[in-house]
Symmetry: C2
Subunit: 312 residues, 2 copies
Amino acid sequence: MGTIGELGEFGLIGRLTRGLPRGPQVELGPGDDAAVVAAPDGRVVATADLLAEGRHFRRDWSGPYDIGRKAAAQNLADVVAMGARPTALLVGLAVPTGLETAWAEELYRGLSDECALTGASIVGGDVVAAERITIAVTALGDLAGRPPLLRSGARPGDLVAVRGDLGLSSAGLALLLDGASAPAELIEAHRRPRPPYAAGEEARRAGATALLDVSDGLLQDLGHIAAASGVRVDVRSRQVPVPRILGSAPDALRHALTGGEDHSFAGTFPRDADLPPSWTVIGTVTEEAPRAPGVTVDGRPHGPGGWDHFRR
Amino acid sequence: MGTIGELGEFGLIGRLTRGLPRGPQVELGPGDDAAVVAAPDGRVVATADLLAEGRHFRRDWSGPYDIGRKAAAQNLADVVAMGARPTALLVGLAVPTGLETAWAEELYRGLSDECALTGASIVGGDVVAAERITIAVTALGDLAGRPPLLRSGARPGDLVAVRGDLGLSSAGLALLLDGASAPAELIEAHRRPRPPYAAGEEARRAGATALLDVSDGLLQDLGHIAAASGVRVDVRSRQVPVPRILGSAPDALRHALTGGEDHSFAGTFPRDADLPPSWTVIGTVTEEAPRAPGVTVDGRPHGPGGWDHFRR
């Protein structure tokens, strides 16, 4: 197959973008100065993330296909967390020239397969040479005439509920750091998160007042809702759906409360909301109290947690 | 001021995005899972580029403000080259934790000032820790109900014309590589390209059949039009507007024909087009010939040139 350096920038872009599936929302795909994507709502939802080798993934821990799935998932989840339907992905790829072309092709296959779960298409991007791999993903989405689901809409009296796995990715990372290779389910969850993309539509139908995807850890992300909404969120630890596979681990609840990168969804809902069974109520929204923490667990402040890429 | 590591990821994002100017097209700016930007046309134009330290810029050659201007310019020029109006920029920033916060703030000031030339606003992004600096920029734009100006619309009989500087950035880079510091105008042109953003609207009004921004070198980029349109482009070297400041350099014409990163605009127009005086006709479009090069200079094939980030 050869290396990326042998193929050259335009050769690689051509190979990566050739034959990509293209949904009906793509008016113009890769190959011109820019892509053109339908935005029938008259607004476009847009979010961008960077994944850096050694920080967000390690090549000895994850194959390119899984890295592609994860890179797409974290951006698609952000679009879904706005209550929008993902339409398009743009991918910037910085790679060493000595990298096998097949590595980049597998990455793209992962990106594309994850997109397919949501109806989005890869419409463009860029490839440059660099010493270490960096993947820059931008996701676009459409609101279909409805208001975005913000972090700022939570109101005292609302319920707090979650949808999706909590703590699996974090527990899997802990295993990898320990050099362990089992349970495979946890390691797989770290390599390839599985955001429950239906959550956005479900939350909207249930009248969500705020929604986000859990990327930095449940408590930290609920803190974003608390701060943006000017409320306090209290989580009842016994209601947190700790995945059964974590049940025996001493750190099970900690992983569920503070583990990032599962890309589950957390939201707030009116007290009388008719939540589907896939959602679990884990707490309540109350009035903001001066100088009190935005998020409490069983009424008490919790220690630092979550995920800050610069501090950890 | 302190370093980025001291401030942390969320602290830095907050500082960088605080007080950013926000145009009326921005329904929701940074701070939620995603931004919401008006797309009144019902379609959105989207393009993404990566700039890697050591490859696209050097910190000993360029300050953060100029790097920001350049990073924004190359993406905004891509949107303008589609005949669209830039609306928004998303910025992913990978930076070492030891970097001064002020460096990132100056970068953002450059990004924001360049956006202001086109009416676009910075609406979101991401900051991560990495060993070397990588800047990922996505630009969005609106077509205002008009068809995009593609690379594929050139027809035999069309004129080829350019708008903007050719070769200045490339000549400036050559000076920097030689350790020279003058002429300052050339070095400045390399540090901070000045795309003539009005070119998109001018080209549209003059009935352009194809348009792109010159990022990889005039001949190489005209080759993209030739390939996409299935035509041949012949450039008449004596008509190429070699900037006067390059006039005495032996490589003047080479810089103008093959130098990248000025982000001027090149397009094709019907023979009877009424081009504004800011445009210069430099050649003609003819029928594609089997096995002949897509671009010729004075009727003859030209050697390899342009800019391929992996091969240079």
